[in-house]
Amino acid sequence: MTTEMKLTEENWSLVIRPQRAWWDLRLGELWRYRDLVWLFVWRDFVAYYKQTILGPLWYLIQPILTTGVFTIIFGNIAQLSTDGLPPFLFYLAGNTVWTYFSASLTSTSSTFTSNAGLFGKVYFPRLVIPLSIVFSQIISFGLRFLVFLGFLIYFMASGSDVYPNWWILLMPIHIVIMAGLGLGMGIIVSSLTTKYRDLQQLVGFGAQLLMYATPVIYPLSSITGGWRWLILANPMTPVVETFRLAFLGTSAMSPAYLLYSLAFTFLVLLIGVLIFNRVENNFMDTV
């Protein structure tokens, strides 16, 4: 009798309990649902193109317009330094990188509220959604990046002082940091929005403010005052700076700072996944 009891105890494939241990992240289960991640990525991609007329052209128009505005306002009117780089290319580089991070952050931050309908009916690891968002954003980042490359080649051909170099190989690390940071911060916010809806407004606005604390529209070298530590503490600073170093050849920052960003990303991601994991159990009762 007791042996049989013991045997069945071990045979349960699933035990539903009030609260799981906080360290029980069930990443294995997430791996089993990897097909679903890809299908969501693919769904977003297909659905997006079916609904727009201009389709991929948006990826061309949006960065060019934003960069054009930056060039006129910050470059021509405010006359901010661009480390001697062509202003258009300087802003385009910063913009390309920044957009990926901020889009990942803002769209993952609404995970719970915008998927309440789906989450209320079926179970799948909730992390599938923010993960798929970050991967979808990589596609649009890729398209923006191609636009950037196009302009880079054009500027090089017309004899500008830009020198792409071997630091280009750092790009996978850039992507990992941006994706991880966007995901980590996004799921922290999305977990908090199950209780406080207004945090969501704060995200779009906060992401914009954060951009000014990142060397997107100015080079790090132009910041010398008491605020420099703040810019340096921003984990996105090394990403933007070393991205420019790799593709344009000029930066005041050593790529070694990326290690700091990596560590920061890992920490944010860990905290994010832990909080997310805690909230996903019961959020259906409060949303």
């Binding site: 049989e4 069945t8 349960w12 539903i16 097909d35 079926v122 179970y123 406080y196 259906m284």
Partner: protein
Amino acid sequence: MSDTVISVEHLSKTYQLGVIGTGTFFGDLNRWWAKKLGRPDPYAKIGEADHGNRIGESIWALDDVSFQLKRGEALGIIGRNGAGKSTLLKIMSRVTAPTSGEVKVKGRIASLLEVGTGFHPELTGRENIFLNGAILGMNRAEVARKFDEIVDFSGVEKFIDTPVKRYSSGMYVRLAFAVAAHLEPEILVVDEVLAVGDAEFQRKCLGKMSDVAHAGRTVLFVSHNMPAILRLCSNAIMLDRGRLVKQGSAEQVTNYYLNSNENAEGAVAWAGENAPGTNEVKLMGVRLMDSEGKSKSLVEINAPSFLEIEYDVRQPGLKFRVAAGFNTQGVVAFTTNELYETQHDRPGRYISRVEIPANLLAEGEYSVSVSLFASKGLKIRYVRAKNVLVFQAVDYIAGDSARGDFTQNLAGVLRPALAWEKIFAGELQL
């Protein structure tokens, strides 16, 4: 190895009632600040101040529920609205977590809480099959293997490459159910999906579910459709206000359910200005009674019953007639009305009464809609009250109803006892 595939142990779930937080960070901050300054809560509703106990009040949606399910068993879960059925299914399908207790499961659970979840309108039927399959827990290879079967079952082959936003709602549901029905989980959790689709499709779904049950897989089936529970499930449990009140064979439990309903009033009544109707005419009550004048919500199909409609006429001289419609299985089974419009010269309370003869209704749940209207000359609808009363028609299968001695499922929304005759028309020319 034991054959128990689901073990629910002391499962409880509480929900908080009332407002816990204000829902926004700014709101909570504001409330905290007001409290600190000794001002009244800016978010309290007027007149609510002395009802402080409302905050944090909780309701037990499930209260210490335990049961077990063996492999291949089909368990029906019945209970009135708010009994905790949906909460139980939500916990079992892991949409929400229990407050205490646990559920142990062997094998894959698939729930059909609502079909079509995650369908994207812009994607084609084909694309949605893959997406929906993955949401429900299948991998791509599995879906690909079952693809033809799914399309076949849904009957939308011709439109499989059309975006589902162009589908009719029936096609949409059929496709969605087809995906879910082909999950091949070890445990299937179904919550009244059968309320959708036409009769033929419903039959197909029930067929598919009994295939599942007979293929040695385990089914948990929540439904108000007692005949369906009786046909599909071997055992059943009944929940009432979160507690498990009856457990046993499907016949025992459905009988218990229907009988406990019998005690419920087969009547509704309104008071004052809340009553449906216009200023001139108000519907005050609707009752279903047996021939002894006792109101009941359970009628035997081979005995007559009476529907009484009570209404106030507040102005003299109104002319109208009373009508009632009986709905079952998603269609209007029949409507009946007073033969002539009558002039109500004296204001006051009136009662219109109609006999529902024996051997007219089929088994199952009926809902009654009532309408008071004038159609001669000026068309006026004084009262239109839909589904005001719900009752069950039952056949105790004693051999004296329209069934004769046939005991299996009989289709139809009406069941008149018709006279059959048989004559011998001659020898065969062999």
